[in-house]
């Protein structure tokens, strides 16, 4: 085990998480694509929901964690929370993008178009996606680490504050002047038990995957900070030895 861990971001905990997520993913594929029945209204296409809904759930979870991490950073000033926020945001953008893509792929055969502005949740998710792409952009700007952390934390919090406003505005935007349409993606509350189980199971598997990715992504972010510190320490040591060498009047050949 130690030989493995020596040069990777894995640990015993992350490996258990990873194995669970993999086994879960295999089961999810079987459950969602083979065992669970077709929906009465959506037909086979309901099988897309088992990746779409968990992706969206994971994205929202990740962004919520970014907001929490940002707030905690401002409160505690700990690098740990800053790195959690950063790692979580990146994975959130990935899953948010996937939720949008699978939503479009589902929309094409269902609505006849990839995009439907009448679907408030889809539009809110798009705005959210763009906000956190902006967050990642801010993180990428080279700056003093503390400044960057503080700035990013504010961007994260300001974005999170806007989410409810965006959601309600988009919702009223449509419902205030249009009748509720067939476009509603709401799940029938009386859906089949196995379908509901598959959906919840999918959310569980995606959450495990998210946690696994988060652990590794966090460790990368942490290592990046260490690399900078090690480089700095090396540079200082080099300078010192140079200084000693000059003091010894070129003892080295």
């Amino acid at each position: 085990m130690t030989t493995l861990t020596a040069s990777s971001t894995g640990s015993r905990g992350s490996r258990i998480l990873g194995v669970l997520a993999l086994v879960g993913a295999a089961w999810l594929v079987i459950l969602a694509l083979a065992i669970s029945p077709a929906d009465q209204t959506q037909g086979e296409l309901v099988r897309l929901m088992y990746v779409h809904v968990p992706s969206a759930w994971t994205a929202y979870l990740a962004f919520a964690l970014t907001a929490v991490g940002s707030a905690m950073y401002l409160w505690k000033r700990s690098q740990w929370w800053d790195l959690v926020a950063a790692s979580s945001a990146e994975i959130g953008v990935l899953f948010c993008g996937l939720a949008l893509l699978t939503g479009m792929i589902w929309g094409r055969p269902t609505w006849g178009s990839y995009w439907e502005w009448g679907d408030a949740r889809l539009v809110t998710t798009l705005v959210l996606f763009l906000m956190f792409v902006g967050y990642l952009a801010v993180r990428r700007v080279p700056a003093d680490p503390h400044l960057r952390s503080r700035r990013s934390a504010f961007v994260g919090i300001l974005a999170a504050v806007d989410i409810p406003v965006v959601h309600y505005s988009v919702k009223w935007w449509r419902t205030l002047h249009q009748q509720a349409t067939v476009l509603s993606t709401d799940f029938d509350p009386k859906i089949d038990d196995l379908m509901l189980f598959t959906l919840v199971f999918g959310m569980g598997v995606f959450t495990l995957t998210f946690l696994w990715l988060l652990v590794h992504r966090f460790r990368i972010a942490w290592l990046e900070e260490q690399v900078d510190e090690v480089a700095l320490a090396d540079a200082i040591r080099e300078r010192r030895s140079e200084a000693t060498e000059t003091a010894l009047a070129g003892a080295e050949p």
């Binding site: 990777s8 971001t9 996937l98 792929i105 990715l213 460790r219 990368i220």
Partner: protein, 45 residues
């Protein structure tokens, strides 16, 4: 396209993207790990 084509497309896009991202994370982690002395990687102990 049939419904199944859309379903498989959606699943493979999701699976592919997550797998690629996971690989990128792991590989990058290995490269970085080599650059950092072991005592600075808390999770190894």
């Amino acid at each position: 396209m049939s419904d199944w084509a859309y379903i498989l497309l959606g699943w493979s896009v999701t699976g592919g993207a997550v797998t690629l991202y996971a690989l990128r994370v792991v590989v990058r982690g290995r490269i970085l790990s080599r650059a950092v002395p072991e005592d600075r990687r808390r999770w190894t102990s």
